[in-house]
């Protein structure tokens, strides 16, 4: 469950977010559309507890976003633009390190299953430095899978992923939704998002406007 | 004339009064003659002469008497001093002498020996200490007034 109450964020002169009110229930996937620079990433960063909102507050799983950050972080994964992977480590080491910091110690079988699921099992012992952008994205997805979050924040998840990769991601999102997870994703790609999104909204100059997802098909801003 | 200007005008007037008072207080100490002026003008009465004790000329006779030459830029004066010799009477030292010029004997009868007052340093320190603060404060108050006006003008300001 995600609930935003009047979230605003300003960088000096520049007001990025305006009074964003949004509630996403359990088992819902909200697709956040909007032109470049409209504040999508900033909103996700605020919800991922990476940036403090200038005004307003939010709750995730009923926990106050400014007071209960540690508990929120333990239940949330943020699949960001940057993949949060270390170039000098291989896939296994990256997964082991990232999950150990979150207090998870997956077994070798778990790791293998996750890597196979994102179809990079063959490259498990290769340094991430030599990965392509799509492979990195898949590895980050495998990390997210192993962390088993209740809340999933995806920042333009379809960029760099091929058709098969996008299908793996959608499959995973459906699985989370059926397990009462909450998903918020920002995207430009209507066709790839349509099959999983229950609700949608457009962010324009930092102001959120919820719309029926079908209406967005012809929107020039998407 | 706004409130701001009136206030700062007051501060300026007070500052000028203080400067005038201080200058008046120290005027007598500030004015001193150079040795060549003494030779040319031969002033009467008590005067103050500023110069350096010429190297190799200082002779002390007993406890209460000393003679030396006081060197200026273009001339020097023979000096005769009577009284307890102060600690700071040394060769090559810059001094202020208070006494009378004996025209007949061409000797300066010194009564008192003082070190050079460093009014330049004092004035410098006070100006450096207070002037930047005053200028900064003035600039800040002006800006605050400007900002209040701006906020009122742009209708961002609502009375409670």
């Amino acid at each position: 469950m995600i609930a935003c109450h009047g979230i605003g964020k300003a960088y000096g002169h520049f007001q990025v977010l305006h009074d964003v009110n949004l509630t996403i229930a359990e088992g819902e996937c909200f697709a956040l559309f909007g032109p470049n620079g409209s504040g999508k990433t900033t909103l996700l960063k605020v919800l991922a507890t990476l940036e403090r909102p200038s005004t307003g507050h939010f709750e995730i799983l009923g926990m106050h976003g400014l007071k209960n950050k540690e508990a929120i972080r333990a239940n949330l994964m943020f699949l960001a633009h940057g993949t949060h992977l270390y170039d000098e480590l291989n896939a296994r080491e990256n997964l082991a390190f990232a999950l150990a910091l979150r207090g998870h110690y997956p077994t070798d079988q778990d790791v293998k299953r996750a890597l196979d699921r994102v179809a990079i099992g063959a490259f498990a012992d290769m340094k991430v430095r030599h990965y392509s952008a799509g492979m990195k994205k898949r590895l980050a997805l495998a990390k997210t899978m192993l962390a088993r979050p209740n809340v999933l924040l995806l920042d333009e998840p379809f960029t760099a992923l091929d058709t098969a990769g996008a299908e793996i991601l959608r499959e995973y999102v459906r699985e989370r939704l059926s397990a009462k997870g909450t998903v918020l994703l920002s995207t430009h790609d209507y066709d790839k998002t349509r099959p999983i999104a229950n609700r949608a909204g457009i962010l324009r100059h930092g102001a959120l406007q919820e719309t029926a997802i079908e209406e967005l098909k012809s929107d020039d801003l998407v | 004339m706004t409130n701001l200007h009136i206030r700062w005008g007051g501060v300026c007037i007070v500052a000028i009064v203080l400067i005038v008072l201080t200058y008046d207080h120290y005027r007598d100490n500030l004015a001193s003659l150079a040795p060549q002026q003494v030779r040319q003008e031969a002033p009467k009465g008590d005067i103050r002469v500023l110069g350096m004790v010429q190297g190799g000329t200082l002779e002390t006779r007993g406890a209460g008497e000393a003679t030396f030459a006081l060197l200026g830029e273009h001339a020097s004066l023979p000096v005769h001093y009577e009284g307890p010799p102060p600690d700071n009477l040394r060769e090559l030292k810059i001094l202020v002498l208070i006494g009378t010029w004996n025209v007949g004997a061409q000797v300066f009868e010194a009564r008192d020996i003082g070190i050079v007052p460093n009014y330049g340093f004092i004035a410098g320190a006070y100006l450096l200490g207070l002037l930047p603060l005053a200028l900064l404060l003035f600039a800040m108050t002006r800006r605050v007034h400007f900002l209040y006006d701006e906020i009122k003008a742009s209708k961002l300001y609502e009375e409670e």
Binding site: H18 | P117, L133, L136, L137, V144
Partner: protein, 242 residues
Amino acid sequence: MTIHRVIRKVQRFEGWFGGSAVLCLIAGLYLGLIGSPPDYYQGEVVRIMYIHVPLAHTALLAYIVLTIGSLWYLWKRDPIVDNMCQAVAGLSAVFTALALGTGMIWGKPTWDTWWTWDARLTSFTVLLLILIGYLMLRTFVDDPEKEARYGAILAIVGFVDLPIIHFSVEWWRTLHQPQSISMRGVSISSGLLVPLLFMSVGMSLLFSYMLMVRTQLLYLDRLLHAKKGRLLSQFHLSKSDS
């Protein structure tokens, strides 16, 4: 948009601070320059003390205020406290620089040198460097929330460091230079104390007044910027709707 109530309070009471500061400083200047006798050892030059020592005291007072404000900000995250911190840091830098400048002017006639690696002069120099670093740091951050947080961290770490810097420089100096040159040479007699007291109190009041003005300035500046930014994006919003 309303003005913050703290700023309203400040606006109402700042005049008293400014007025009493001017009165104290006038009394202090009169006593220091005219009303007090010259010192037996230093002569007239001792009068520099009446401006130098209050400046130095106020610089330290300002740094203590900065530290308290920084702790307060990290605790409460109130933007107005951050405006106060930013204001006090700038003023503290100015007072520290002026204390150093007047100290150098005092050093020339008393020790015949503009600069000596005295423990106090050195720690004030380091303090000035820390404050300049603080002000530079704040200009290099885009997010005002981050700017305030990082500034507070630097101020607190610097505050903890200052006594250690002072002691280390003092030990180092006693090792390398004879004790002949020392600020401690001035024994403060009661004749010197009265003008010093007036100047110190006056300077602290002046600092409080300047702090109030500068806090207002930074607050209003930010308020206006924020409002302008909001108007700007509302303008864009209305354009993209039509």
